[in-house]
C-alpha cells in the first residue's frame, strides 16, 4: 500500500480527504504510482502530467523521504520506505508568487 499526499486543489478535485492509498501492480516506480493514481482518480489526468507525453507539469513537484524526485525518470524505483507505506509519496504544487 502506497500513501500519496496530494495538494489541496487536487484533493478537492478528486473528492478525497487526507492521504490517498494505492495498490500498485508490479515494481513501484514514479511512473507506476502516477498510473495507479490516475486509474483510481481519472479526474486527475492531465493535472499532474501531460496526458500524452507524460511530462510533469512545470509547477508540480514530487517529493519522498526528503528527496526531490521531480526530474527522475518515470521508471525510477521509489524509496523502500514509500513502497512499504512508512513514508508518503508527495505531489506538491510549487510555491509561486511574490
Amino acid at each position: 500500500m502506497i500513501r500519496v499526499v496530494l495538494p489541496a486543489h487536487l484533493r478537492t478535485l478528486a473528492r478525497v480527504n487526507g492521504e490517498v492509498k494505492l495498490d500498485v501492480a508490479g515494481p513501484a516506480t514514479l511512473g507506476s504510482v502516477l498510473d495507479a493514481l490516475e486509474a483510481s482518480y481519472p479526474m486527475l489526468r492531465g493535472t499532474i502530467r501531460d496526458q500524452v507525453t507524460k511530462q510533469r507539469r512545470a509547477f508540480v513537484r514530487f517529493f519522498a523521504c526528503e528527496q526531490d524526485l521531480s526530474n527522475d525518470p518515470a521508471d525510477t524505483p521509489l524509496p523502500e520506505a514509500v513502497v512499504t507505506g512508512g513514508e508518503p509519496f508527495m505531489v506538491v504544487g510549487a510555491m509561486a508568487g511574490g
Partner: protein
C-alpha cells in the same frame, strides 16, 4: 414565474446568481471550484440545466466540469485537448515561429439543439468539439491548419479563440474570433474556414487592411438576423450586414471606441451595447466613469447609460465575455467587472444595480432565461 440564472466566471472560482423574473433579489452560490480560474461557463440552449465550465490553473492545467442540475452539483469530464496531426507553428511576440501549445479553454459554446454537443475555443487558438457531453474532445483542425495560420500572432492575453457564434438558421455556419488573427467563418460545420475581415483597419500591424492579423475582441449576433454581426475590435466598433463578408465602422459618437464586450438586445436586433474603455494602454473607463453605451440604431448613434453605475474614481475593466442579456421583457442586461462587481439592469440598461460587489475579478457572465 420565469427567472434568470447568471453564470459568473472569475479568477478564483465560479458563482451562480439566480433570481425570479422581477430580477430584484438574487441568490448567490459559490465559489464553485474555489481558487481556480474559471474563464467561462455556459448552459445548453436545449437543456438549461446542463451547464459546462472551464476550470484552469497555472499549476494543474485544464479541467472541464459539467452540471446536470443547473449548477448545484458538478462532475469533471474529459480534459484531453490534443491538436490533431502536425502541430505546426504560429508567430511568437518577437516574430519567430512558435509551436502551437495548448494553454486553456477560453470559451465553451453549447450547440443550439443538442446538450451533449459543445464547441470549445482554446489558447493557442483552435476549435474543439465534443458530442458526448464533454467526455472526449476532437479538434476541428481545418481552422488551425488554414493557410494563414503560420502568420497568426498572439494578442497581449495570448493567442486565444475567445468567441464562437453559431448560426441559428444554418447549422453548417460557425463564426469564431481569435486574438490577434481576426474573424473566421465556416460554412461546412467547421471543416474549412475563411477569414472574414474585409473592412477592418488596424493601426499597429504592417498592413492596416490585412486579411488576417486584426485583434478582434468580440462579435455578437441577434438570432433573428444571423447575417448581421456586430464587433468590438481592439479599437473600433464594427458592423457587417453580409455574414462577415464586409465590415463598416459604427463607432459614431462613442467617447472611445476601444473596449472588449459587445452584445445585442434580446428583442431589438438594432439595439446594441458596448462598454468603452479609455485605451489599450489604460484599461479603465474614460474619465473614471463607468458607462455602458447603447445604440438603438445598430451603431453610430450612442447614448451613455449611467444610472446606478459609479461616475467617479472607477478604474475597473469589463472583459470580452463578461456581458450578457436575458430574454425576458424588458430585456435584462448584465456585466461583470475586474473589480468583482456584477451589475444588472432589468430595463434594457436604463438603470443598473450591483448584484454583488466583491467577487474575485470577473472574467465572464452568461445569462440564462429559465422557464
Amino acid at each position: 414565474m420565469s427567472g434568470v440564472r447568471l453564470l459568473v466566471g472569475t479568477r478564483k472560482g465560479a458563482f451562480v446568481l439566480t433570481s425570479d423574473g422581477k430580477r430584484s433579489h438574487w441568490d448567490v452560490s459559490g465559489p464553485h471550484f474555489g481558487g481556480w480560474e474559471v474563464y467561462h461557463l455556459k448552459g445548453s440552449p436545449a437543456d438549461p440545466n446542463r451547464l459546462y465550465a472551464s476550470q484552469s490553473s497555472g499549476w494543474f492545467g485544464q479541467v472541464i466540469q459539467r452540471s446536470n442540475d443547473g449548477g448545484k452539483t458538478w462532475e469533471p469530464v474529459g480534459n484531453k485537448f490534443t491538436y490533431e496531426g502536425t502541430t505546426g507553428t504560429h508567430l511568437w511576440y518577437d516574430g519567430t515561429p512558435h509551436p502551437w501549445e495548448f494553454a486553456r479553454v477560453w470559451h465553451l459554446e453549447p450547440a443550439l439543439t443538442d446538450p451533449d454537443t459543445v464547441y470549445a475555443g482554446v489558447e493557442d487558438a483552435a476549435l474543439f468539439r465534443t458530442s458526448d457531453g464533454g467526455q472526449t474532445w476532437q479538434e476541428l483542425s481545418g481552422l488551425r491548419t488554414h493557410a494563414s495560420a503560420s502568420s497568426w500572432q498572439p494578442g497581449a492575453g495570448g493567442m486565444c479563440l475567445h468567441t464562437i457564434v453559431l448560426d441559428p438558421r444554418d447549422s453548417q455556419r460557425i463564426f469564431v474570433a481569435i486574438s490577434a488573427a481576426g474573424t473566421f467563418r465556416s460554412d461546412d460545420a467547421g471543416r474549412t474556414w475563411r477569414p472574414i475581415n474585409r473592412g477592418l483597419r488596424s493601426e499597429g500591424i504592417p498592413d492596416p487592411y490585412a486579411e488576417v492579423g486584426h485583434c478582434v475582441h468580440r462579435i455578437a449576433m441577434h438570432r433573428s438576423r444571423p447575417e448581421v454581426l456586430f464587433m468590438q475590435k481592439h479599437w473600433d466598433v464594427m458592423r457587417s450586414d453580409d455574414g462577415g463578408a464586409s465590415w463598416r465602422e459604427v463607432s459614431g459618437n462613442l467617447p472611445t471606441d476601444f473596449g472588449f464586450p459587445i452584445d445585442v438586445h434580446a428583442h431589438e436586433p438594432e439595439t446594441i451595447y458596448v462598454v468603452p474603455i479609455k485605451s489599450d494602454s489604460e484599461h479603465f473607463p474614460p474619465d473614471a466613469r463607468l458607462r455602458v453605451y447603447r445604440s438603438r440604431t445598430g451603431g453610430n448613434e450612442w447614448e451613455a447609460l449611467t444610472n446606478g453605475l459609479p461616475q467617479s474614481h472607477c478604474y475597473v475593466n469589463v472583459l470580452r465575455d463578461a456581458m450578457s442579456v436575458d430574454a425576458l421583457d424588458p430585456c435584462g442586461v448584465y456585466f461583470g467587472t475586474t473589480g468583482g462587481q456584477v451589475y444588472a439592469s432589468a430595463n434594457a440598461g436604463d438603470s443598473w444595480t450591483p448584484i454583488v460587489r466583491d467577487l474575485p475579478s470577473v472574467v465572464s457572465v452568461e445569462a440564462q432565461t429559465l422557464p
